[in-house]
């Protein structure tokens, strides 16, 4: 049974209610909470990479603290198991898998720090360091990376011997460390946007015309930061039919207009601080006018839902066309995304990425004839191939598409890339 009111009366369950309730539950109810999060993901009631990431991190923290394990492999396999189920619940929320992998990395790290250094005969494994995730400058940690050397020699050297028995260090010793690590992940989630915004001035100059699309807290922060020093113009494509509500409300900045319930979930978004109030000229255009305007645009700045291992984007529907239009006009495309959005997963099934949303947003369901005679398609996401992007800005700094693979590799242990099996 789930604890006190995981779902607010009248529903729908929200991130807040989930986080609230998860802190209250006792150990016995953890499995229930896992199921709960899974169904929330399935019903798309927690959506967006930040929200899902926060939810996942909180859940895992609870799981770690609640479970007793004698052997560290137990907790690892347990978390992998949970991760598997979560990612299958909503395959397109890559952030979920990312957090799970990060946590796994944490645990392994704790274990290794806890145990004598690995014998020299084995190539030293990377220590995935969270510092790297935090250091704003120069992405790569100096630490030698185990993955490549092992990979090349995999043919010759014997496969890394199975983990030495770790029952030696009881859960006690490392649990604290893991919890600490997860907490760090959580505040990385909250600080990412500011770190990204820090580099705003390097990319936006006075009197430029910036085009962006839909609604992204990261982009908003980025632009606001630049607005402190420079005055420029922002053109916003409204992202009809899935984002325009948020866009409109955020622009006109009235928090008590209906439908802000969803936005409220992005708790740290303030309505006082809108682009227009920051003195920027904001031009709102329908998505159809993007190409027409592009000839006058200096930069396109896009937020994204997730970034795949090869540097491709899973972004709000429309992004692909916009970046294509930018390419046609030789306009640089800059993508701002927190490192937690970088996923080690390769986009095998590009078509599968574009989830079909509610057609009712494109055509009202009352419209009997349309419903009857047409197939109405409303996709939520676009896959944007890496060659469409000129620059990525994460909380680790700016990266060329070709180098992104490394940033990704830094964040995850090779053995955790696949959660299956």
């Amino acid at each position: 049974m789930v604890t006190q009111r995981a779902v607010p009366v009248g529903g729908p369950p929200s991130l807040d209610s989930f986080v609230k309730s998860i802190t209250k539950i006792e150990a016995s109810q953890v499995p229930g909470m896992v199921d709960h999060l899974i169904s929330l993901l399935k019903r798309r009631q927690i959506r967006g990479s930040r929200n899902t990431a926060v939810a996942t991190a909180n859940l895992l923290m609870r799981v770690v603290s609640a479970t007793k394990w004698s052997h560290v492999d137990a907790i690892i396999s347990k978390i992998r198991e949970i991760g598997r189920r979560l990612t299958r619940a909503q395959p397109r929320e890559l952030a979920v898998g990312n957090i799970v992998r990060r946590v796994l990395g944490l645990i392994r790290e704790e274990v290794e720090n806890d145990s004598p250094p690995p014998s020299a005969s084995l190539p030293a494994g990377t220590t995935l360091s969270l510092q790297s995730a935090h250091s704003t400058q120069g992405g790569v940690p100096a630490a030698p990376l185990g993955q490549p050397s092992t990979s090349m020699f995999s043919l010759l050297s014997q496969n890394p011997t199975p983990q030495k028995d770790k029952s030696s260090h009881s859960s006690k010793n490392i649990k604290a460390g893991i919890m600490e690590g997860i907490r760090e992940i959580l505040d990385e989630l909250s600080t990412a946007d500011d770190l990204i915004a820090a580099s705003a001035l390097e990319h936006i100059h006075s009197n430029e015309i910036i085009l962006t699309m839909g609604y992204s807290v990261t982009v908003q922060r980025f632009l606001l930061r630049a607005a402190q020093k420079r005055s420029f113009t922002v053109i916003i494509a409204e992202g009809y039919p899935n984002d325009q509500d948020k866009v409109h409300q955020v622009l006109s900045g009235d928090p008590d207009s209906p439908g802000n319930s969803q936005i409220a979930e992005d708790s740290h978004l303030t309505f006082q601080q809108t682009l227009t109030r920051a003195g920027l000229i904001v031009i709102l255009i329908p998505d159809s006018a993007v190409y027409a305007m592009m000839s006058r645009v200096n930069k396109v700045i896009l937020g994204t839902h997730a970034v795949t291992a090869n540097g491709g984007l899973v972004a709000a529907a429309g992004a692909a066309v916009i970046s294509k239009a930018a390419k046609e006009h030789r306009t640089p495309v800059v993508v701002v995304a927190g490192a937690y959005k970088l996923s080690p997963v390769h986009p095998f099934d590009v078509e599968g990425i574009s989830e079909h949303g509610d057609p009712g947003k494109a055509v009202r369901w009352e419209d009997a004839d349309m419903v009857e005679s047409c197939d109405v398609v409303n996709t939520l996401f676009d896959y944007v191939p890496p060659n469409m992007v000129d620059l990525y800005i994460t909380n680790l700094g700016g990266h060329a598409p070709s180098y992104l693979y490394r940033i990704v590799a830094d964040h995850y242990r090779p053995e955790d890339v696949s959660l299956d099996g």
Binding site: S121, L156, Q158, A309, N310, D349
Partner: protein, 347 residues
């Protein structure tokens, strides 16, 4: 096979590495050249009684040189040799003395071939995700690992079709087609000149690689290059499937910057042409390859024998900018990632 010995100069008198290598290839059609090379080098190490490190090293170097020189283009072969070399040096670095190193190799020696096949299997399992129901895949030449990947997909009931280019002059496309058709996969073999026409009808291009070079580009059977260009212009994903032991330390700047010559473009007038044909016959005789096998009819035996005799199919170079990603046993890598891996083992 006595001629073989003659053909090979250098190497250890008491151990004929080239012979060993040749037999490996002949006996096991699944084995690839680099693995065979490594295998033979291990045998060599096993055999040699070197006492000092330098001696030890030089013997191995000698062996690998022998192998390299034995074939017309030694890309994948040298990939194996160099890798081994690199490994020995590092291991020596770690485990001081020769003896323990040799012991280690002796103990693991027999595993290499197996590991190579495991790698192929891993790639198949990884890459199978790229092949989806109802897709059409475009293939070039014959790559064991690509075939393995496709068979895995067929195994899983994925309903895909394949278009295979004849890939003259080797004509290995026919062979690929045969293998796939055996497994009930509908295959269409098109002449190389039809590649551009066929490109529009496929969803995905899969090629193997002789060698993966430092900038993430590949060296592969002649025709790969044009395939890649067509794929890019048609916006079709172009994937390279290759085990990481094919990564080779080489940085070709263009087609004509390969470390060996291939007489692909040869100008002749009539009589010269006639003369050339004669000469070729002679050479074949000299190496006494039975006519039947000499023809690259894509016959399995033939192919292996050719490999054994170092008759490599002609190759060209495809730059990284054409490659969507490389599917290796260590995951799906961008060209950038490949060069990093190479950089890392050499520095």
């Amino acid at each position: 096979m006595s001629e073989v010995k003659k053909a090979s100069e250098g190497g250890q008198p008491q151990f004929d590495i080239l012979k060993h290598y040749t037999n490996l290839l002949l006996t096991d059609s699944e084995i690839t050249m680099p693995v065979a090379a490594i295998e033979s080098l291990v045998a060599l190490v096993d055999a040699c009684q070197a006492t000092t490190v330098s001696e030890f090293i030089s013997i191995i170097e000698g062996g690998s040189d022998t192998l390299k020189s034995s074939v017309s283009n030694a890309i994948s072969l040298s990939a194996g040799c160099d890798l081994f070399m690199r490994y020995i040096i590092q291991t020596l670095g770690n485990v001081g003395d020769i003896a323990s190193c040799r012991d280690y190799l002796r103990n693991n020696g027999r595993l290499f071939v197996q590991r190579a096949k495991d790698a192929r299997r891993r790639i198949a399992l990884l890459g199978v995700n790229f092949v989806r129901d109802g897709m059409t895949v475009l293939l070039h030449a014959f790559s064991r690992v690509v075939i393995a990947l496709l068979l895995e997909a067929a195994e899983r009931g994925v309903r895909f079709k394949a278009i295979v280019t004849e890939s003259r002059p080797s004509g290995l496309g026919k062979r690929a087609a045969r293998v796939l058709r055996d497994k009930g996969i509908p295959v269409s073999v098109v002449s190389d000149s039809a590649t551009g026409y066929a490109m529009g009808k496929c969803d995905l291009v899969l090629v193997g690689a002789e060698g993966v070079v430092e900038n993430g580009g590949i060296i592969n059977a002649l025709g790969t290059f044009q395939l890649a260009i067509l794929a890019r212009s048609a916006k079709k994903p172009f994937y390279v499937v290759a085990e990481s032991h094919k990564f080779v330390r080489l940085f070709p700047l263009s087609q004509y910057d390969l470390p060996f010559d291939q007489d692909i473009i040869t100008y002749f007038t009539d009589d010269e042409e006639a003369a050339r044909v004669e000469k070729e016959k002679e050479e074949k005789k000299l190496k006494n390859i039975p006519e039947a096998l000499a023809r690259n009819d894509g016959g399995i035996g033939g192919d292996n024998l050719n490999r054994a005799w170092g008759e490599r199919p002609l190759v060209d170079f495809t730059g990284p900018e054409f490659i969507t990603a490389l599917i290796t046993e260590n995951g799906v890598l961008t060209p950038g990632a490949v060069s990093e891996e190479l950089i890392r083992i050499w520095h």
